[in-house]
């Protein structure tokens, strides 16, 4: 009788455990089904939950109120003491600060697109490693004019992604390096169109058949975007027995180092091949043109007039 009772207890425990397995699988499948059927609803519910967390984060990092500023100022002051001490040690005075500010000013001017289209400056409040997917979170949202589908830039013309979701005060950017993100690119060097795939971690992979010369340093351009330079090929993986060779592309600045980005004011629209060709032509021209000050630049017209005038000025009659 005792043995029977013990066997019954073990069996009942086993049945209960099996039931739990089935329940876990059922709940997972149910969750996946809900995710596939009503993703928009879930997204809006999560946006409501995430909004106060983001608001608190923005308040703590960027607010001008005294409480968060106290903590920021404290850490900023400690940082400044460290910088000043090192500056004193190097006897460099304020030169470093001025240099940093000038560089930051130039960076911000470039980000805002001081030449060409208007853009919205945004700070990055979440990046890969801090967020569960390969996305960036910005501190600007729909109330600042950010729209879904707008391109996101670092530096003056490097496109890194597209706005995929906007709330009133935040925006979520899907990076073109996100796994599975496919884009058409043009490689300046071999001068070919090909497809690039995001592989995560700020890396883009372009695949071309063997026989096409792919070199490190070749510039990769997104012809669907005006001024859409992405970066240059930093590594080429070519195995002679494989039909394809791969180039790995990354922007100059690593994703972890991005503090500011600029967002285009208009969403991207699909472009035809002819339009892409025209954009590409403009990019190819503009990429190799550097704004050189007039007094430094010596071109045919300038050099002729300079040479003529200098010859006239220095002409010595024997």
């Amino acid at each position: 009788m005792k043995k029977f009772s013990s066997i019954t207890r073990v069996n009942s425990r086993r049945i209960s455990r099996n039931k739990k397995y089935i329940r876990i699988i059922a709940v997972t499948v149910l969750c996946l089904a809900t995710l596939m059927i009503v993703p928009v609803f879930i997204r809006s519910v999560v946006a409501m939950v995430v909004a106060p967390v983001n608001a608190a984060k923005t308040w703590l990092y960027y607010s001008g109120q005294s409480f968060p500023q106290y903590f920021r100022d404290r850490s900023a002051l400690l940082e400044k003491i460290r910088v000043l001490e090192s500056q004193l040690a190097q006897e460099s005075g304020n030169a470093y600060t001025i240099k940093t500010l000038v560089a930051e000013n130039q960076e911000l001017r470039k980000l805002l697109g001081d030449e060409g289209e208007q853009r919205i400056l945004a700070s990055v409040i979440g990046r890969p490693g801090m967020l569960p997917y390969d996305v960036l979170m910005l501190d600007r949202g729909s109330k600042d004019g950010i729209q879904v589908g707008a391109p996101v830039y670092i530096k003056d013309n490097t496109v890194i992604g597209l706005v995929q979701q906007v709330t009133a005060s935040t925006a979520l950017v899907r990076l073109i390096t996100s796994p599975g993100f496919t884009s058409t690119v043009y490689i300046i060097g071999p001068n070919i169109y090909t497809t690039a795939k995001g592989i995560g971690g700020g890396q883009l992979r372009v695949g071309v058949p063997q026989g096409i010369t792919l070199s490190e340093g070749d510039l990769v351009v997104l012809p669907s975007i005006m001024s859409g330079v992405y970066g240059e090929i930093h590594t080429v993986q070519s195995i002679p027995t494989e039909p394809e060779q791969y180039g790995f592309v990354s922007p100059d600045i690593p994703l972890t180092g991005i503090r500011f980005v600029s967002v285009g004011t208009t969403p991207m629209q699909s472009v035809s091949f002819e339009e892409a060709q025209q954009i590409l032509q403009d990019i190819k021209t503009s990429v190799f043109v550097v704004p050189v000050p007039e007094d430094v630049l010596i071109d045919t017209q300038a050099s002729t007039s300079t040479a003529t005038s200098s010859r006239e000025d220095n002409m010595v009659v024997p």
Binding site: Y21, I24, D134
Partner: protein, 78 residues
């Protein structure tokens, strides 16, 4: 119950602010301690909001984690 709710709230905050390794570690501890289905809801939220049609990795991963923890639980003497 209060501790469990607070822990779950902490998971929600970690999910939206990161860092991801800390979040995953916290999810692991939470699952071992409570073995609750609510982490699947959290995973659905992450996949819908941050994933945006990029995959269902968190839902599948957390489902697997629940199964593994449930399988290992008697062996862990918990």
């Amino acid at each position: 119950m209060f501790v469990r709710a607070s822990f779950f709230l902490l998971l929600v905050i970690f999910a939206s602010t990161g860092p991801v390794p800390l979040f995953l570690l916290a999810v692991g501890i939470y699952t071992v301690l409570y073995e609750g289905y609510e982490i699947l809801l959290l995973a659905v939220g992450i996949d819908a909001y941050f994933g945006y049609n990029m995959g269902y990795s968190y839902t599948l991963g957390f489902g697997m984690l629940l199964l593994v923890v449930h399988f290992l639980r008697p062996k862990l003497f918990l």
